[in-house]
């Protein structure tokens, strides 16, 4: 099946429609919440949470013995929350830094989860097969009820986000000020962290423990490059996330042997790369162009002010001088000279140049302007 088939089938085929909808919703909600994680400098929290959710899945299975995805996700949610708040406890109460706390909880919880998973695999319970789909995710196992669950959580999340928008925003940018205003920062904080955990847990089935953090980060990091406004960023991140989900599903469906999770992550990474390079205000390409432009301007100014200094010593400012007088050191190149001519600052006569009236005045002003700028 190639991509065209995919798009013609996506509306009619049950499985494809479910998966596409699921990954799109997932991308949107993680992108939305990921914006907050990225701006709060908690980017790697997602990584830690998704790994920390694993033992919860295993324990939920051990207790219930059933593979109902809702129960398992509940277990994941609980263990993700425990991990998150333990990380906070470590950072707050001990002198271990946040990176150590994240790495600790991530690896210890995941290791414990693996211990439980391997333990479960040895159990004489035919039901246990397929638990490892939570490691790398299998979008193909999504069913309609999963998508409904995602949609409900996304709706809830959107509702809370709109309801507490002001509080979230102010907490994000100035936590101390929020406190002095009398908001209960602890509750707002817990609320937003819990939603991040919830979104991650929802994605485990689709993208898996290992790659879930990228779903949270990549759309938000891409969106950040295009705007400085929080609402636009959240919206853009949701759009990027949803598109990563859809494109990722389309590509993985059109090839054999391609699991959806890694493809979605790669598509999201492409979004990030594109944003890093091509964003007009922050992007590397335009930044570089601006640098080159500034450098050229500077060289132009240098040449002009050099000419000005020569012309100054003569009574007639338009007295012609040899081009040979100019050299690279003053930023002279053929093209800069040509530019000066175009701007009508300089007139060329054979191998001689002379400053025009406008050129002389500009150079004089340039000089004073520069010196005032320097002060």
């Amino acid at each position: 099946m190639d991509i065209q088939d995919y798009f013609s089938l996506v509306f009619s085929d049950y499985t494809l429609r479910t998966i596409t909808l699921g990954t799109a919703i997932l991308g949107a909600v993680t992108g939305m919440l990921g914006s907050f994680a990225v701006l709060r400098k908690q980017s790697l929290l997602g990584d830690a949470i998704s790994h920390a959710a694993l033992p919860g899945i295993a324990i939920a299975f051990l207790i219930t013995g059933a593979k109902d995805s809702n129960t398992l996700l509940l277990g994941a949610l609980v263990s993700g929350l425990i991990g998150t708040f333990w990380i906070r406890g470590i950072v707050k109460k001990t002198h271990l830094k946040s990176d150590t706390a994240l790495g600790l909880i991530l690896s210890l919880f995941f290791g414990f989860g693996m211990l439980l998973l391997t333990f479960i695999q040895k159990q004489p319970n035919a039901n246990q097969a397929g638990l490892d789909k939570y490691l790398f995710g299998q979008a193909a196992t999504l069913v309609e009820s999963d998508v409904w669950l995602m949609a409900i959580v996304t709706g809830l999340c959107l509702f809370v986000l709109l309801l507490f928008w002001k509080e979230f925003k102010i907490l994000l940018f100035d936590a101390d000020y929020t406190k002095t205003l009398g908001f209960n920062t602890k509750i707002i904080d817990i609320l937003i962290t819990s939603f991040i955990v919830l979104a991650i847990v929802l994605g485990l089935q689709t993208v898996g423990v290992v790659l879930m953090s990228a779903m949270l980060l990549a759309p938000a990091a891409a969106a950040r490059q295009w705007t400085n406004s929080l609402s636009t960023m959240v919206f853009l991140a949701a759009v990027f996330g949803a598109f990563s989900g859809v494109f990722g599903t389309a590509i993985s469906a059109s090839q054999t042997n391609l699991s959806t999770g890694p493809v979605i992550v790669l598509v999201a990474s492409v979004f990030v790369f594109f944003s890093f390079v091509f964003s007009p205000s922050r992007g590397l390409l335009f930044k570089h162009i601006r640098v080159i432009k500034n450098r050229r301007d500077l060289e132009l100014h240098k040449t002009l002010s050099f000419m000005y200094h020569i012309a100054e010593t003569h009574d007639n400012i338009s007295h012609p001088h040899a081009i040979k007088l100019l050299n690279n050191f003053q930023g002279y190149t053929k093209s800069t000279l040509q530019k000066l001519v175009e701007k009508d600052y300089v007139k060329l006569e054979g191998k001689m140049w002379r400053l025009t009236e406008t050129g002389f005045n500009t150079a004089a002003n340039l000089y004073t302007k520069q010196s005032t700028d320097d002060e």
């Binding site: 002198h95 790659l211 391609l258």
Partner: protein, 386 residues
């Protein structure tokens, strides 16, 4: 105990030591998450290396994969330098992308590659003794043992040779640079060692255990000491302890050895986190409670000094005026009485000479707000020490 069991424990212990040494420095340099990034992003390196060498234990593959680890570090630093995103976001962007490439490479070539992503993440220590190294037909031990042994030897040599440089650059990067040690060389040296160790160990114990062994023992030791050498020694002992106890736990449970070792590390961490003498959570909370009482006491004494009227100094009035709960008021009163700072006569509280002197000093301290003074004051009077 048969020879395979001894060999497994030996490999696990060597891996623990080899991981702990660079891990300690990563934790101290606040770069612990880099080890997580490296452990994931070596996957494409391993896969491509495997296409070339067709041998999971070839030194070339280890070098190739370690090189991917270094590329990860360079990429992360490049993204950080552009200033487009924060440092931790850069890490979080790079390694999932590389890991995804690895997973896709494996999936697309599933028929040619005897590589399983689960195995990369988890390793299988139990099989390590079966892969023997044969030198001209003579069995000299498991390959994994040799690989990790060589890596450990290199790590220890580097550690001893550059201990001073590492120490200075970890705790005072500016000083190290001004003394002429290139921060870049030390940084990338450490990163290279971390990458090589990760690759060398992943095959035996899996990527996640590598991360756990790098971070957890160092973090546990850091809660117990502030001396670098002691921290290294403690971290290594905890690593080895968890490796061996973890093996037996897995043996008893018949589950993954890597997971079990990590669980042991988690248990040790939990214990130390709770009960470490001065930095454990219980010690910290106890200290905070003491400090709260000390502050209350000070407030109380200041109040007494400010008021000569009887009604302001009546025991019942204090309770409503300063608005303390009954219990806390009682603790503070008792503490003050015990230290001879106040006397209570007919329910009227008054300062003693000592209390008066203490309070004056405290006011001086609050006005000037110099640390040195409160330290002296604590020595002169204090409080919980008798």
């Amino acid at each position: 105990m048969n020879s395979a069991q001894i060999e497994i424990q030996l490999i696990a212990s060597l891996v623990a030591i080899a991981c702990t040494i660079p891990g300690t420095f990563l934790v101290l340099r606040k770069m612990a998450m880099i080890s997580d990034a490296i452990s994931h992003s070596i996957l494409p390196g391993i896969v491509i290396g495997f296409f070339i060498t067709h041998n999971l234990n070839s030194p070339l593959l280890i070098l190739f994969a370690a090189f991917t680890g270094i590329i990860t570090v360079i990429l992360v630093e490049y993204i950080q330098k552009t200033g487009l995103v924060k440092e931790d976001t850069a890490i979080g962007l790079v390694f999932p992308a590389l890991f995804s490439i690895g997973v896709i490479l494996i999936a697309k070539n599933a028929n040619d590659v005897h590589l399983d992503v689960d195995a990369v993440l988890l390793g299988e220590l139990a099989f390590a003794p079966f892969d023997r190294l044969l030198i001209s037909g003579v069995d000299v031990g498991p390959k994994a043992l040799w690989i990790i042994g060589v890596i450990l030897l290199i790590t220890i040599t580097l550690l001893i040779a550059f201990f001073k440089e590492l120490k200075v650059s970890t705790f005072d990067a500016g000083l190290a640079a001004s003394l002429g040690f290139s921060p870049a060389i030390i940084h990338y040296g450490l990163m290279s060692v971390a990458s090589v160790t990760t690759v060398g160990a992943f095959d035996a114990v899996g990527a996640i255990l590598v991360v756990a062994l790098m971070i957890a023992p160092a973090a546990i030791a850091y809660l117990l000491t502030t001396d670098l050498k002691r921290m290294l020694a403690l971290a290594i002992s905890f690593g080895v302890l968890s490796a061996i106890s973890g093996y037996w736990f897995a043996h008893w449970l018949d589950a993954s050895i890597a997971g079990s070792i990590t669980t042991m590390l988690g248990l040790i961490f939990l214990l130390v986190y709770l009960f470490a003498p001065s930095k454990g959570i219980i010690a910290v909370m106890y200290r905070e409670k003491q400090q709260r009482t000390e502050v209350s006491l000070l407030t109380f004494l200041l109040h007494l000094k400010n008021h000569n009227e009887f009604e302001e100094r009546h025991v019942n009035h204090l309770r409503e005026h300063i608005n303390w709960q009954k219990v806390r008021a009682k603790t503070v009163l008792e503490l003050a009485t015990k230290n001879n700072m106040i006397i209570v006569e007919n329910n009227i509280v008054s300062l003693t000479k000592k209390g008066d002197k203490f309070t004056s000093k405290a006011i001086d301290y609050i006005i000037t707000n110099e640390d040195a003074q409160i330290e002296d004051m604590k020595d002169d009077f204090f409080l919980f020490r008798g």
